[in-house]
Symmetry: C2
Subunit: 607 residues, 2 copies
């Protein structure tokens, strides 16, 4: 049964004041959409907007999935157009660059901005669906979007991108249609909601459904809908989208100076008048039944709770992944993004992850505040033409980590050269404390089927993504629980051991995750360092790889080659190779390395 | 106008199903209570319960102030009594030990459990106050409680204790009636609410007031009150009382197995049925107007936002303080307790602070999970007879920190003896990294008018409070911002420098806060340590005060006496004294201490 609906707003009685979207297009599909939880929709209309041009190869299309209260208007089409909800990220020259990419943003199934939803006409009755709108899922939304892509002639996406419940759609896309998605960018999302987030949604829906004007969902012909309930739900939601810090910054100085909003909500406190305003605005543009349908779909989304369930959920995924969380997001907390990353790692999927330091809460992914970080990650990740900078270039040198200013002009990294030699050309490699990717970039010039870095510093993580490397932001002191037993041929810890507090823990993890470990560290017993302590009575420094003052070095562990050998003996760690280097001379030290080498490289394994 | 009301529940029509409190007593005061924000109550009835006996000296009374949904029934009176809301903390042998203490717990003003509130009869109309109940404040609650204490013949409290809004009352007591409060225990509270917490309250009140059954507050005679609105408010509140971790633990394994509660709220998810149940239970026992009155009083409570405003608010305080927060409490986050502590420190008030590690959220202070920590702190703090254990006792020795197992049998701490000698007997002393209080306990035997410790470890903090010492839990690496410039005669950093990452920062803070600093640290250049590196080629250890292996020492900074002298020179720090000790021999080293001392003590100041 065909559904044609040129004006997508006729059918949404509740959202009667919503501003029309000038550039929206609609596509109507008249074959029934069978729903995951049973039942069907006899047909479905999808409202969408597009930006940029699909190229001749049809390989530059990017699908942007919006969050619960968004719509198809992701960005301005022209300078005089209404603002889009993600103008910071989408447009000419922006991170999602519409000069090069063809961006598609559909209103999601169950919404109230043009795509079929509870406010749409039920062809069986000629009335809005209301309570008869079936329970839909994220998978059903993806099915509607898939029809749209077919309609637009896009077989394979350059990327699917979404934050929050938009991220749920991106995850569903990549696990259901892996061959159609080259890349996934999932922001501020999760494999399923926390029970805390779920609880807030439940209370919001209770407020709507128990509003006397809800009329069991059939309020479309009435003078009033459940406006109070919907406003209450929106107020709750709004609090959860902000961080406590952001609310303090916004309201604390003038907490008792509310704006005089024309709303019948409490206006004693500034934050109260703000919430009243947000509630009122939302009621004008959004349909309560859509809010129930979409939040329920979000709440039912569930890729699993245990690591093994999650790993199974991502088993078929074929895409390259960028997962981004925000440190102050307590609705979709960073740990949940880590769960996604761990499941991808378990499936050997290429993935980068960054937990952007931000105090903007869940909303951070929509705001300009942190665009320098997350925008740059998106831009770099979408670029098909990323290449490592030439090794000799200033960028290449700057990207090297671990060497002090006095040695930055060294043309060679003898330690990297030796480490590269130690790694078989086809080995899978995990580089812990990879910095800006100096070693990984060298390895990438060879034939490794799997290279991945772990790094704590945000800027270094961004630098790696810029180089086209896969990198996961993590703190080595907190373990490598995301990595499976013996998952890599080789785990490298290059000049990082001395900055790690829990040395036995990290060595254990290296040997659990890798068949072999390659560990390099500065040698405290290097001859001139011994002299400093013995003769001058000062903490060893200023020679070899130990240069900083005792009070401002990033290092917290100081050891010699002999110390490490004893440690390995004590912990039953097998030593395969021991290499001493004099990095100042660029030579290998064969005789008494504990005295004459400033840097040691060990190849180890569990015995 | 006298108000006599023997059955405190007659007047509260809405909370009609509330279980009667069998042991409640009431006191009615018939002189008008003038309210802080204007208006008055013509008289006030206070419902309360007492536990234990007021002693002859009348100095063992403890006032317990309940939180928003509590009542006077803080604990069981007998084994067959209904459970109290704080049975874990109050009773015979419990932390608030009713074998020795006389505990008074009143229902707070504005409540609905016997004390005058919006559901009480307005003598002017003979009807419940309803919307005519005036806006009350925490100060008004304290005034009602003060009348009760006068009535009971309690001039001075051993302590006032409260958590959450009960903590607000405790703060108000100590700042309004300082001479009547010997001690304050403030749990999980704040100088004022965060805007995030405020926002949740506002939404809850909006849900109540916009419930059609609210009838502008005059619902008492109606068949229905604003039950849905109150339930929504309670659901929101409940989420904020729990931590995300606690909700995950409680609901995650069976998230889609709701209990079949007989409530008309969403029951799709386990957490939803739980919230529905909580909402329904609350409506049965609580009055919506009381919820509005009490939450508004809490929201209006405001001791100031800036450190100087807060310091001014506590200027007149005369009590000894124990402030306790809980690490996962996001409604009254630990930072707010730190703000209270900082304001007290600025006023030279004796204060201890502990941020109890807990995953129970704001509710932690009511639950048994962490009672071993917060209960022990309360018990020790309330004890009038705390004495330091004898120095030679096993407890005394165990309480010493910083010395390794091989030296635990030393009868003397020569470093403490020398540090004590360096401190004038009347000096005010701040001991950073005070451990279990070994040095402070020694100093306490002298005449210091002000001694306070800072320590990170929770068990060490509890040990200090057990010894009757004032101690503040804090991380030295995060600075001493709570302490004022030159606030102490002497700041001690005893064998802690080597465990601090930001050495320049901590030294800066010592010199800002203290007239002089006394810093002791292990000497890396101690002769046998030099030999270890020079001859054996191993990281120095196993002699003097540097004993642990390189990979599992808590130390992260390694320095010699000469290093520290150079550091002071470089940073323009003035050295007044330099003492070298051989702690193995128990002697002072006068000749070449950088070679022969294993421990150094420096007396420094800013130049």
């Amino acid at each position: 049964m065909p559904l044609m609906d040129d004006n997508p707003f006729d059918s949404s009685d509740s959202a009667r004041h919503a501003k029309p979207l000038r550039h929206v297009q609609t596509a109507t599909f008249d074959h029934a959409l069978t729903l995951e939880l049973g039942g069907e929709l006899p047909g479905v209309t999808v409202a969408y907007e597009t930006y940029g041009q699909l190229n001749a190869a049809r390989d530059n299309a990017v699908l942007v999935c919006h969050a619960i209260s968004g719509d198809s208007h992701v960005a301005q089409h022209t300078a005089d157009d209404d603002p889009g909800w993600w103008d910071v990220a989408v447009g000419p020259g922006k991170p999602i660059d519409t000069d090069h990419l063809f961006v598609i943003c559909p209103n999601l199934l169950g919404g109230c901005r043009g795509t079929t939803g509870p406010g749409s006409t039920n062809p069986a009755t000629g009335e809005p669906y209301g309570r008869d709108f079936p329970t839909i899922t994220i998978g059903d939304m993806v099915e509607a979007e898939r029809r749209l892509l077919d309609h637009l002639g896009v077989e394979r996406l350059r990327a699917v991108i979404g934050g929050s419940v938009g991220g749920h759609q991106a995850l569903a896309w990549a696990t259901r249609w892996p061959e159609r998605v080259r890349r996934v960018i999932a922001l501020a999302t999760s494999p399923r909601l926390t029970n805390q987030a779920l609880a807030f949604d439940v209370v919001g829906r209770n407020a709507i459904r128990r509003d006397p004007h809800y009329h069991d969902g059939q309020y479309y012909g009435e003078q009033h809908g459940p406006e109070v309930g919907l406003a209450i739900a929106r107020m709750i939601g709004h609090i959860t989208y902000l961080s406590r810090e952001a609310m303090t910054r916004k309201f604390d100085a003038n907490r008792l100076q509310p704006r005089d909003e024309a709303v019948e909500f409490e206006k004693t406190f500034s934050v109260g008048s703000y919430l009243g305003h947000q509630g009122r605005k939302f009621v004008e543009r959004f349909d309560a039944n859509s809010y129930i349908a979409l939040s329920t779909a979000m709440d039912l989304f569930d890729l699993g709770s245990t690591p093994s369930e999650l790993a199974a959920a991502f088993r078929g995924a074929r895409s390259r992944w960028l997962v981004i969380s925000f440190s102050s997001d307590w609705l979709f907390p960073p740990d949940q993004s880590r769960d996604i990353v761990n499941a991808l790692v378990a499936n050997h999927a290429p993935v980068s992850y960054c937990n952007v330091q931000s105090d903007c809460g869940h909303d951070a992914f929509l705001l300009p505040n942190d665009i320098a970080s997350y925008g740059e990650l998106i831009r770099a990740f979408l670029d098909d033409d990323i290449a490592s900078p030439p090794e000799g270039s200033a960028i290449g040198r700057k990207a090297e980590d671990g060497f002090s200013p006095t040695s930055i002009f060294h043309q060679r990294r003898i330690d990297f050269e030796r480490i590269v030699e130690l790694i078989p050309a086809d080995a899978s490699v995990l580089d812990l404390g990879c910095g800006r990717g100096g070693l990984l970039a060298r390895l990438k010039q060879r034939d490794h089927h799997r290279l991945i870095g772990v790094e704590l510093d945000e800027q270094a993580v961004i630098a790696c993504v810029r180089r086209g490397l896969d990198v996961i932001q993590a703190d080595l002191n907190k373990g490598l629980r995301g990595f499976g037993n013996q998952q890599f041929d080789c785990v490298v810890l290059s000049q990082t051991l001395q900055a790690v507090r829990d040395v036995p823990g990290v060595i254990n993890e290296i040997l659990r995750v890798g068949h072999i470990g390659i560990v390099s560290f500065p040698n405290l017993a290097f001859r001139p360092l011994r002299h400093i302590l013995a003769k001058d009575g000062r903490a060893p420094r200023g020679y070899g790889r130990i240069r900083e003052q005792w009070y401002d070095t990033p290092d917290v562990r100081f050891l010699s080659i002999t110390d490490f050998e004893e440690f390995c003996h004590e912990k039953s760690v097998r030593i395969h190779r021991r290499i001493g280097l004099n990095t100042e001379d660029g030579t290998e030290v064969f005789k008494d390395p504990n005295l004459d080498a400033d840097l040691a490289i060990f190849v180890i394994s569990s015995s």
